[in-house]
Structure formats: structure tokens, C-alpha cells
């Protein structure tokens, strides 16, 4: 048994490592979905469920522990415990029943998480695409048509936004807490995230991957505007660009 264990283990690991280290830019595969799911709502829902789940487990374990600590405190100085002698069946029972309970809970949560994960990684078909090039220590957003902004991600409200990311120097991570999204940007690979600003408003962007001295100052804003306002802003920027270029 033990002899079979190591080759098996090493095989598993190398397979893992091969798959994982490799998979170059997922640059291309952004599966798309038709309807626009709501990441934030899905997140809040799953979060609540997980919190209920772990609170129940935690309280259960804690209460049992506290009860044991109280009920089996030492009453006489030389008292010894009265260990339970487990029969073989009981021993296996105490192994497999907990294993199944834990696994059932894992699978339940895993299935829930899987759905939300697909939502996270499946940008809607009609998403508006913006390119990000991060650098120490600023965010450069590029719009179709060559308009560029720094640290200001202007987006039309009511439209899902897909951000396609690379980095000029080191790894950064685009983090928009209000939309519960985050993904690293890095040189040599293309990564993406999407979010859905439903209403007009401003949201914080901040960097979540350590990138040196001004890591904590690397912040920006998502500015969700009315579609009309956004269009005219983009048009005016573009006009300024062509004027400036000519």
C-alpha cells in the first residue's frame, strides 16, 4: 500500500503542476451568457448561507467542547479518565460518519459556489469592453477608439462591463469592493473580470496585489454615468484626441 502511495502522489502532483503552471493566457475563453446575472446579489446570498452553515458547525463544536470541559473536569487529584473502548465497527463509524457529514457539507457548499463561480467568470454577451493596462502605480483604461483615462473608469450605467487586463511592469490586482470583483493583471498574460453597474454612481477601485512603495496609494474610481452622458463624454474625448493628433 505504502509503496503505491508515492508514485501515485507524485503523479497527481506533477499532473496538477503541469496543468496549472501552464495554461497560458486564458486570453481567449470568456464564455458568455445571455441574461445578466447579478454578481453582488449572488455573492450576498452565498455569503449568508455559508455564514449560517459555519456558525451552526462552530456553535455545535464549541458547545460540545464546553460541555465536556465542564462535565469531565477533574474532581479528585488522582482521578483518571474512563476511556471508551471502541469496537472495530464503532471506530470505523466514528471515521466514516464524520467523513460523510463533512463531505456532504463540502459538496453542498461546493455546488453552490460552483454556480456563482460560473457567473463570475462568464461575462454577458453584450458586455461593454474596456482594456486596462496597470503600471506602478496607476491604472490606465483604454476605450475602443483610442481614448485613454488614468485612474478613472467611466462606464455606462445599466450595462455589464468587461475589463480586459494586462500590466506594464509588475502584478497588480484590480479590486472594486462595491462590485465584489477582483482579478490580477500581469505582464505577459491577459486576464479579465466583469461587473455590472446598475445605477449611476461612483465606486472605489483599489489595488489588491502588493506592488511596491505606493501600493496603498494605487486607487481610482469607477464612475457609472447615464448612457447618454457616457456616449457624449466618449465622443468629446475622441474628438479631442483626433484634434490633438491632427
Amino acid at each position: 500500500m505504502r509503496r503505491r502511495f508515492y508514485p501515485l502522489l507524485s503523479l497527481l502532483m506533477v499532473f496538477g503542476l503541469a496543468g496549472l503552471s501552464s495554461a497560458q493566457s486564458e486570453g481567449g475563453h470568456y464564455p458568455t451568457a445571455g441574461a445578466i446575472p447579478d454578481i453582488v446579489e449572488g455573492y450576498n446570498h452565498l455569503w449568508r448561507e455559508v455564514m449560517i452553515d459555519i456558525t451552526i458547525i462552530g456553535i455545535l463544536f464549541a458547545l460540545v467542547t464546553l460541555y465536556f470541559l465542564f462535565a469531565y473536569r477533574r474532581k479528585r487529584p488522582n482521578q483518571e479518565g474512563k476511556p471508551v473502548k471502541l469496537s472495530k465497527a464503532a471506530m470505523l463509524g466514528w471515521a466514516f460518519i464524520p467523513i460523510f457529514v463533512f463531505m456532504a457539507d463540502d459538496l453542498y457548499l461546493g455546488a453552490k459556489g460552483w454556480t456563482l463561480w460560473n457567473t463570475y467568470r462568464t461575462p454577458p454577451e453584450n458586455a461593454y469592453e474596456i482594456q486596462l493596462e496597470s503600471a506602478m502605480w496607476s491604472w490606465k483604461f483604454k476605450y475602443a477608439g483610442g481614448v485613454e483615462t488614468y485612474n478613472e473608469l467611466r462606464v455606462p450605467a445599466g450595462k455589464p462591463i468587461l475589463v480586459r487586463m494586462t500590466s506594464a511592469d509588475t502584478i497588480h490586482s484590480l479590486f472594486i469592493p462595491d462590485f465584489k470583483v477582483k482579478e490580477d493583471s500581469m505582464p505577459g498574460r491577459v486576464t479579465y473580470l466583469w461587473f455590472y453597474p446598475k445605477e449611476v454612481g461612483e465606486h472605489l477601485i483599489t489595488c489588491a496585489e502588493y506592488c511596491g512603495m505606493l501600493h496603498s496609494n494605487m486607487s481610482g474610481k469607477v464612475i457609472a454615468m447615464e448612457q447618454g452622458a457616457f456616449d457624449s463624454w466618449l465622443a468629446s474625448e475622441q474628438a479631442a484626441l483626433t484634434e490633438g493628433g491632427a
Partner: protein
């Protein structure tokens, strides 16, 4: 401690050139506690810095160096050496009935390497351009950084050599040097756990070694292992790093669990509940699963979607072996005769801290939830609960537990208990508040949070908690010093434990026992018979 009849010179020679496993262990402990003290000081300074918006006491560069040192020293300099250096070296020969480790000189070599590593790490504060690359040292930043990445690489390499030497040594010891009659089926839990930890070290340390070597070559020799412009791959480093560093979490966790098992069994005077399942299912399961989950550190790093979801499932499965271990610990309390001495208090504290830390790992394991809480203070709080604090509680509890044995002095029970209560309160204020700060979206490794001024109250609460924690650690230190200088002599077996290490004299002399004990009728957990 040992007398110094021949003057201070002889005393020093005896200790520095020692090949006795107990002295090697104690020197490991001193080194790791030194690392803990300095890294803890860094933590306090960082907490002061974060207590208010804007630069408080320093500039970002200095802060980043503190943060780098805190992480690297706590893991590589404190936890791993304290557990696999001090406890393993000092305890394993005593628990298996050996006179010493298999290769005493190799043991001394690994100790010296460890001390070199500590000195190299401490040079951070002396050299110009100290490393500021965090303990993870992700490229390209670790290559672009103005800091001297080499200090990090060489610290890791030297510590790696030390732990490989230690691992080979102690695994051999466990296999070949058990006392007659000490069969596999009746080893202490600590021996099992530590052996598993050493196997993980032996398998995975070389990978970290190559990864940090490649970093240094990229930085100083102009190679392009991790430079995408020349065919390198940025993400590969993270894979290699976490391929080691996730198992490293279990290198820490396993001995921690082992110590807790032994403390609980002794103070509950009870058998380990379901010993075989804890060993084969719990410890063996952790050994098996630990190598296949590292992508959960890269949920937001641009890895392919399918692998992230796959590793989410394997990550969730970790709860199974760890759950079996926790079940056995709690089950050991059942029908026991529990006495609440200081070590037991730490063990109980550990159970609760580990529960909080372990359960908050579940949302982190779910890739979809992790996307938001990844790299925020939430995860900082999580790994401090599960690794830093629960681990440190186990280490401190273990030190209290074996204190009478290795110093020959009893500690002051009241001081010990006060220390426990204060640290327990401090820990929970610090890190429970940190969860909520993280959920507000505070990213980790931030020098300042001017863009999130609303978090100032929470951050200040965390800082207050950290100060309470510091007071707690000071009291623990005082209780140890007090015991060293004014403690009562300890009896051979102050706790009434049945484990083998308590059958020798206090403190154990050279060779541990006059002759190797016969363990035919011995059972380390043979209570209630």
C-alpha cells in the same frame, strides 16, 4: 539549566558545540523566540502605523520592510524552527525512547545553518536597500524591487538546508531508534504528526529552493525565468511558491496538532479518541491532500477557470482530515478527568481559535466568495487565527507543558494563567475585528488607507487588541524568567502523564535514560486501566 563550573568560556563551548539533541533543541527555541520577538515588534509598529489614516510613524518603504520581515521571520524563523526544530529535536528522542537522534553532528549542522539564517534575516535592518518583497516574493516585483532580494533567497535556502537536514535526521531517528517494544501503533501523536510534517518538508522544500534561486538569478544574473518579454512566465513562480508554501502550512499545523493531542491527553488523563483514525485518516489524509490544493492561493491570479474550480473542491476536502483530528481532540475530553493547568488552558484556547480560523477558511475555499475577500484583511485575520495564533498558542502551551522537564523548574501557575487570559482576549479583539475590517474591503499589505477613511475606527480597535496581546506576551515572558530565576525545582512527572518523556529525570541527563527503556508494556496514553 546546566551548571557553569568551568567558567563562562567552557559553558559557551559546551552549548555552542553541543551535539546533544536536547541542547540543540533549546538553542533552536532561543533562536526562534528571538525571531518571534523581533517580528512581533514589527507587527506592533505596523499596527501603530495603521491606527490612523495617513502616515503615522513612518514611510511606505520602511513599512514594507517591516511587513516583509514580519511575514518571513514569523514563518521561516519562528514557527517552522520552533516546531520542527525545538519540539521535534527535543521531544522525539524522549518520546520514542532513544538516547539521541540518529545523526547528532548533522543535527548540530542544521542548528548552525538555522542560526546563520536568523542572522541573515536580521541583517535586513542593517543593509542598505533591505528587501521589501513580502515573504511571498512574487516576481516581477521581487526582480524590479530596489531592495536586495538576495537576502530573502539566501535566508530561504539556508533555512531550507537546515530543515532538510533536520527532516532526514529525525525521520531516520523515528524509524530506526525506537526503544524495544515501541511499536508504530503506540507512538505519541506528536511523533506521527511531526514525521508527516518532515515528509512534507522533504518533498516540497526543494521546489521553494529552486523558485527563490531562479528569482535571484533573474535579478542579479540577468536570466529571464520569470520575465514574460523573454519567454518567462510570471505566474509560474506563484505556482512553484505555493506548491511548497501550502504544504508548509501543514508543516506548521501538524506538529501543532501533535502538541495539542499530547497536552489534552495528559490533562484529561484519557486515551486519544479513535487514535488509529486520527493517525491514518487525519494525519495521513492531510499528508495526501496538502499537495493538491495550492491554487486556492491563486483564485484571483488569472489562472484558468477550470483549475480554479477543481482546486476549490480539493480545498474543501481538506476539512475532512482536519475535521477528523479536531474530532479526536474533542473526543479525548469525553469521559476524561480534565485539570486546567496553564498548558491545558492553551490547548482549550487552541480548540476555539482553531475552530474560528478553520471555519472562516470555508468561505475562503469557495472560489466565488474568495474573489472578494482574497488579499484583504479578512484573509489576514483568517491565517492569523489558524496558523499564527492557534499555532503560537500551541507552541506556548507546549513550552509551558515541557517547561518543568527541560528547565527543571516549575513556573508560577497564576502568572501563567493571567498570561493566557490576556493573550486570549487580545487575540480575539485583534483578529476578530480584523475580519470585519477586511469585509469592508481593506486590502492587505497597505501602508495607508486614505481612500477608505471610514475604516479608521476598526483599524484602531485592531491596534488596541494588538497592544493587549503584547502585554499578554510580556507576562508570559515574565513568567518564564521568573521561573528560571525563582522557580521551584520540578518533580520528574508534575502532570501525572503516562508518556515516555516523563519517566526520565528532570531535567534529562546526557543519554536521556541510564539505559534504554523497555517499552513492551508501555502505552503513552494508557490511562484508566
Amino acid at each position: 539549566m546546566s551548571g557553569s563550573k568551568g567558567g563562562i568560556g567552557k559553558f559557551l563551548r559546551e552549548w555552542i558545540f553541543t551535539i546533544d539533541h536536547k541542547r540543540v533543541g533549546i538553542l533552536y527555541l532561543i533562536g526562534s523566540l528571538a525571531a518571534f520577538a523581533v517580528a512581533g515588534l514589527m507587527a506592533m509598529l505596523m499596527r501603530i502605523e495603521l491606527s490612523s489614516v495617513g502616515p503615522t510613524i513612518t514611510d511606505p518603504n520602511t513599512y514594507n520592510v517591516w511587513l516583509y520581515f514580519h511575514g518571513a521571520a514569523m514563518i521561516l524563523g519562528f514557527q517552522i524552527p520552533a516546531l520542527t526544530g525545538f519540539f521535534a529535536n527535543w521531544l522525539i528522542p524522549l518520546q520514542i525512547g532513544a538516547k539521541d537522534v540518529a545523526f547528532p553532528r548533522l543535527n548540530a549542522l542544521s542548528l548552525w545553518l538555522f542560526w546563520m539564517g536568523i542572522v541573515l534575516a536580521l541583517l535586513t535592518f542593517v543593509v542598505p536597500n533591505p528587501p521589501d518583497i513580502m515573504w511571498t516574493a512574487y516576481p516581477p516585483y521581487s526582480i524590479l524591487s530596489p531592495g536586495n532580494t538576495a537576502f530573502y533567497s539566501f535566508t530561504v535556502l539556508i533555512m531550507g538546508f537546515a530543515s532538510i537536514a533536520g527532516g532526514v535526521n529525525l525521520i531516520t531517528t523515528i524509524i530506526y531508534m525506537r526503544a524495544p517494544g515501541m511499536r508504530w501503533g503506540k507512538l505519541n501523536m506528536f511523533v506521527w504528526c511531526t514525521m508527516a510534517a518532515f515528509i512534507l518538508q522533504l518533498i516540497f522544500v526543494p521546489i521553494l529552493g529552486t523558485a527563490v534561486t531562479m528569482i535571484s538569478m533573474d535579478k542579479y544574473l540577468g536570466t529571464t525565468f520569470f520575465s514574460p518579454t523573454s519567454g518567462g512566465d510570471v505566474l509560474l513562480y506563484q505556482n512553484l511558491f505555493w506548491f511548497y508554501s501550502h504544504p508548509a502550512v501543514y508543516v506548521i499545523l501538524l506538529p501543532v496538532l501533535g502538541i495539542i493531542f499530547d497536552i489534552v491527553a495528559t490533562f484529561a488523563r484519557n486515551r486519544i479518541f479513535n487514535y488509529k483514525v486520527a493517525v491514518y485518516g487525519g494525519v495521513g489524509g492531510i499528508l495526501l491532500v496538502s499537495g493538491e490544493v495550492w491554487i486556492h492561493h491563486l483564485y484571483a491570479s488569472g489562472m484558468p477557470n477550470w483549475i480554479r474550480i477543481g482546486m476549490m473542491m480539493s480545498t474543501l476536502l481538506i476539512s475532512v482530515p482536519v475535521g477528523l483530528c479536531v474530532l479526536s481532540i474533542i473526543g479525548t475530553l469525553y469521559r476524561g478527568a480534565i485539570e486546567f493547568k496553564t498548558p491545558m488552558l492553551y490547548a482549550v484556547g487552541f480548540i476555539f481559535l482553531f475552530l474560528i480560523g478553520g471555519l472562516t477558511g470555508i468561505p475562503l475555499a469557495l472560489a466565488a466568495l474568495d474573489i472578494f475577500i482574497h488579499d484583504t484583511h479578512f484573509i489576514v485575520a483568517h491565517f492569523h487565527y489558524v496558523m499564527a495564533v492557534a499555532g503560537t498558542f500551541s507552541i506556548i502551551g507546549g513550552i509551558y507543558y515541557y517547561w518543568p522537564k527541560f528547565t527543571g523548574k516549575m513556573y508560577n501557575e497564576t502568572l501563567g494563567k493571567i498570561g493566557f487570559v490576556i493573550t486570549f482576549i487580545g487575540v480575539n479583539i485583534t483578529f476578530f475585528a480584523m475580519f470585519f475590517v477586511g469585509l469592508e474591503g481593506m486590502p492587505r499589505r497597505y501602508f495607508d488607507y486614505a481612500q477608505m477613511p471610514q475604516l479608521e475606527d476598526g483599524q484602531r480597535l485592531v491596534t488596541y487588541g494588538a497592544f493587549i496581546l503584547a502585554v499578554g506576551f510580556l507576562i508570559i515572558l515574565i513568567s518564564w524568567l521568573h521561573s528560571l530565576f525563582a522557580g521551584k525545582p520540578a518533580p520528574d512527572n508534575p502532570w501525572g502523564s503516562k508518556s515516555l518523556e516523563w519517566t526520565t529525570t528532570t531535567p534529562p541527563g546526557p543519554g536521556n535514560w541510564p539505559e534504554v527503556p523497555d517499552c513492551e508494556d508501555f502505552d503513552p496514553y494508557g490511562y484508566g486501566e
